[in-house]
Amino acid sequence: MSASLIIIIVLVLVAGGAVIALPGKSFREAMRISLSQAVRVVPIVLPAAFVAGFLAELLPREIVAELFGAEGGWLGYAIAIAAGAILPTGPMVVLPLGAALLQADAGLAPILTLYASWTLVNLQRLFIWELPLVGQSLAVRRYSGGLLVLPLAIASAVLIAWLLGR
């Protein structure tokens, strides 16, 4: 069993135990909230899982790697930002891709830029997860916040590459 699953199980047991043990906290009310959430989000989450694999299949690593290629300078960063924005959500695609590109002599700064873009302004996360699940008002604010701090993250990427001499 993975660490993340164990942590979630522990959190659920502690929180559930607290609801049962504490006076004035209704277990039935908690279940009602969970169920109403489930009814709303299960039909969204089910197809969302299928988007990830199909998108990964349609965006083959070779093409993304080719786009980077030996392109340097500003174009390389622009491609890195765009790639980070359109790559599928989920570390199982972006991190192996980043590692493969580094192996293929891509610069560390553009790869960290790609990763920063993926963490902050990924479009699949916005359209498939955030907009449907938390609603427009919150999702738009989250994305704007990500866009605003993206330049800082890119500056960090350049700084890290310089510090490590890569």
Binding site: S4, A18, A38, G53, L102, G135
Partner: protein, 180 residues
Amino acid sequence: MAERKRFGGHGPTLFVWTIAISLGLICYIYKGEAAFYRAFWVDVGILETMAPRFLLGLLLVGFLTVLAPREAVARALGAGSGFKGLAIAAGAGALLPGGPWVIMPLTLAIARSGADAGACVAFVVAWSSLGLNRLLVWEMPFLGFETAGLRWLLAVPLPLLAGLAVRRWLPLAATVKEPE
């Protein structure tokens, strides 16, 4: 919210189904049957990983909403909670494991319990850029200890700045209403 009204409130659901089915069709037509089934079984694997975490996450949403007194959450994470509120939200986001299927329902729960948009943004940005689980399981093995560690350290201000910016320029106190 306006988007709940369209398609009898099923707009987001229809949207995601449409994307999933379209991508599946494109995959089948352009990449062939073998590629389609390969991607399909990858998706089933993703679903298998995600389902137990997602269901536990939903239980957590109910428990936390009942446990957290609205006034206390509003004090700790509301519009008036200051930098400390953003730091608490960011800390929670960095510590919580799980994909968007766990984090998004939790974001909804803290928003409904009185957190403002700034705190919600700090929470989600911290999860996506500072998540400790991803740092240890994915970033360090693939990027190397030094690079991943430095990246993480330099990313620490990001959720706080994103939260501050949203509070300053796009404030929103009462974020999400109870779904009908």
